[in-house]
């Protein structure tokens, strides 16, 4: 299996002139292909430390760039631009601007853990991807991703009741992402299911929608977790030099 490489030369920096004479020598056409020089002066030296301060980013310093993560990556097979090895390299070098070019796809990691399985250095690339996506949001480089919106709605439901009600989590997700109704394909599917009329199932779904499932004696537990999360998020905001707000 090949190690997936990524060229650092961008297509827009390759220049070919049809007619060009340099020092009296005609170098038109093929012989005049140049790479525009690119100088990086702005290294973000704090970036690695900041990402390492977020949950999951702890082991990023251990990476030795073998590429096993990208090679095994589910998302890389879907989109070759999805390249954990490359992003870890950029973070460790402090190449923030380069990382920001991919800021809108990093959250797409599906947490299949193939990278974690393959990594010989226990970097836990899956968790590093989550920490990086999180960092991008906290720093204001991206708005909250659909995945984060979902995670937040889900966790709110767990902290409140101890259990989740899937329908409720979905409704909150569609509402918060500005889709007041479920997407049409999902509605078609539900309509198809209702036609078959599996009594037990429909009754069960209705029951959980009306009487939200709740863990008995949960109250204190939810509060204890909320306190803990608030404290941790304040610590993380401080590590990232963000004043006051807890992040979420």
């Amino acid at each position: 299996m090949p190690i997936h490489e990524k060229t650092l030369i961008r297509p827009e920096n390759l220049v070919t002139n049809d007619e060009l004479v340099i020092d009296g020598v005609d170098v038109s056409g093929h012989w005049s292909t140049f790479i525009k020089p690119r100088t990086i002066t702005d290294y973000n030296e704090a970036m690695q430390e900041e990402i390492a301060a977020l949950p999951g980013g702890e082991n990023i310093h251990r990476c030795w760039q073998c590429g096993s993560c990208t090679n095994s990556c589910t998302m890389n097979a879907v989109n070759p631009e999805f390249n954990p090895r490359y992003w870890i390299y950029l973070i460790r070098q402090g190449l923030e601007e380069e990382l920001l070019r991919d800021k809108d796809i990093i959250w797409q990691c599906v947490s299949c853990n193939k990278c974690t399985y393959a990594c010989p250095r226990d970097v836990v690339p899956e968790a590093v991807m989550k920490a990086t996506a999180h960092w991008l949001e906290l720093k204001g480089h991206t708005s909250e991703s659909p995945s984060s919106v979902f995670d937040r709605g889900f966790t709110d439901n767990v902290l409140k009741s101890g259990k989740i009600e899937e329908g409720h989590v979905l409704r909150i997700f569609f509402w918060r992402t500005g889709q007041p109704l479920a997407p049409p394909w999902l509605r078609d599917l539900i309509a198809g299911l209702v036609k078959k009329f599996p009594v037990f199932y429909l009754f069960n779904l209705l029951k959980t929608a009306v009487f939200r499932p709740k863990t008995r004696g949960w109250g204190k537990t939810g509060v204890a977790i909320e306190d803990y999360v608030r404290e941790r998020h304040a610590e993380q905001a401080q590590a990232l030099g963000l004043s006051g707000k807890g992040g979420h």
Partner: protein
């Protein structure tokens, strides 16, 4: 760490269904209980259980996820059980991960003790409870020989692709009992589901995407990617000659089902493969009716196909 469990210990185990099995995975819950009953195994539901954190809470804070899972292990201990069976891959994975983290990560231990104290119950210490999957449960408490005897090859002529998903085998360090040679589960090429269904007469096809990802974690938040991943799984299963994909996880199962329609639209034709929980297949092999194992709750209607195979 893995305790040497005698068969008799598994005749009665604590049962942690998890949230999905009370909602979209209802058929998995029904069929698991029905199979247990038919085989004389007793499941005792964990009292006042809570969500394990699934794929979501860890992204808010991983320590909270560890606590949530550990609380269920505490509840299991409080009932006097030292084995808990979780049929959902996500739950199973998270309970295993909590066990691992509490043995390895001081920060997880500290968070668990702090939140447990405030919530007013004792903090779980690793080594108290062994978490097993429904596959371990049936394989160890009943075994292939007994299943073969009880089912008399009822699944004969059924071509099955066994789909295990991500959470059952990855990452390998949280499953210390796997990859221990003969008789143990493999994280690279899992085979427990294959073994169980083969003992009931099913013909397992050689399926290379056994542990591929269905995109379940982003089934809603990144639906296009999930559809693409599901399309791969469906068409590969078809190409391998499978008529059925057997699942062992409500997230995989639901993701395959809800994305099947979209995937078919993308592909421009219907896919000819049914999606069933392995417990539904085993239940029917044990002579239970389609209704008893909740087949009507499956979205891609498999009823006609099952009748054709002689399963009523």
């Amino acid at each position: 760490m893995a305790k040497d469990l005698k068969e008799k210990d598994l005749k009665q185990v604590a049962y942690y269904p998890g949230c999905a099995l009370e909602g979209t995975g209802h058929a998995y819950n029904r069929s698991t209980k029905a199979v247990g009953k038919a085989l004389g195994l007793e499941l005792v539901e964990v009292k006042d259980w809570n969500c394990c954190g699934a794929m979501e809470v860890k992204n808010i804070d991983p320590q909270v996820q560890t606590y949530l899972s550990a609380r269920n292990l505490t509840k299991t201990e409080e009932m006097g059980f030292n084995v808990v069976m979780a049929p959902c891959n996500g739950c199973y994975h998270n309970l295993k991960k909590a066990e691992y983290d509490l043995a390895q990560n001081p920060q997880a231990v500290e968070a668990n003790e702090r939140i447990s104290a405030k919530a007013g119950h004792h903090a779980y210490r690793p080594g108290g409870v062994e978490t097993i999957h429904a596959l371990d449960w049936l394989k160890r408490a009943v075994g292939e020989e007994e299943l073969a005897r009880r089912t008399a090859g009822k699944l004969k002529g059924m071509k099955v692709a066994n789909y295990y998903g991500c959470m059952y085998t990855r990452p390998r360090h949280i499953f210390p009992e796997k990859d221990q040679g003969e008789g143990s589960e493999s994280t690279y090429a899992p085979h427990f589901m294959d073994d169980l269904l083969a003992s009931a007469g099913a013909e397992n096809v050689d399926f290379p995407l056994k542990t591929a990802c269905c995109g379940g974690a982003h089934a809603m938040s990144d639906a296009d990617t999930s559809t693409q991943l599901v399309l791969n799984i469906l068409t590969t299963a078809e190409a391998c000659g499978a008529e059925v994909i057997a699942t062992e996880c409500p997230t995989c199962h639901t993701s395959l089902e809800i994305h099947q329609l979209r995937a078919e639209k993308l592909l421009g034709r219907k896919t000819n493969v049914k999606i069933l929980y392995f417990t539904q297949l085993l239940g029917m092999a044990l002579g239970l009716s389609q209704r008893k194992v909740g087949v009507a709750e499956n979205m891609a209607d498999p009823r006609a196909y099952l009748r054709e195979k002689g399963l009523k």
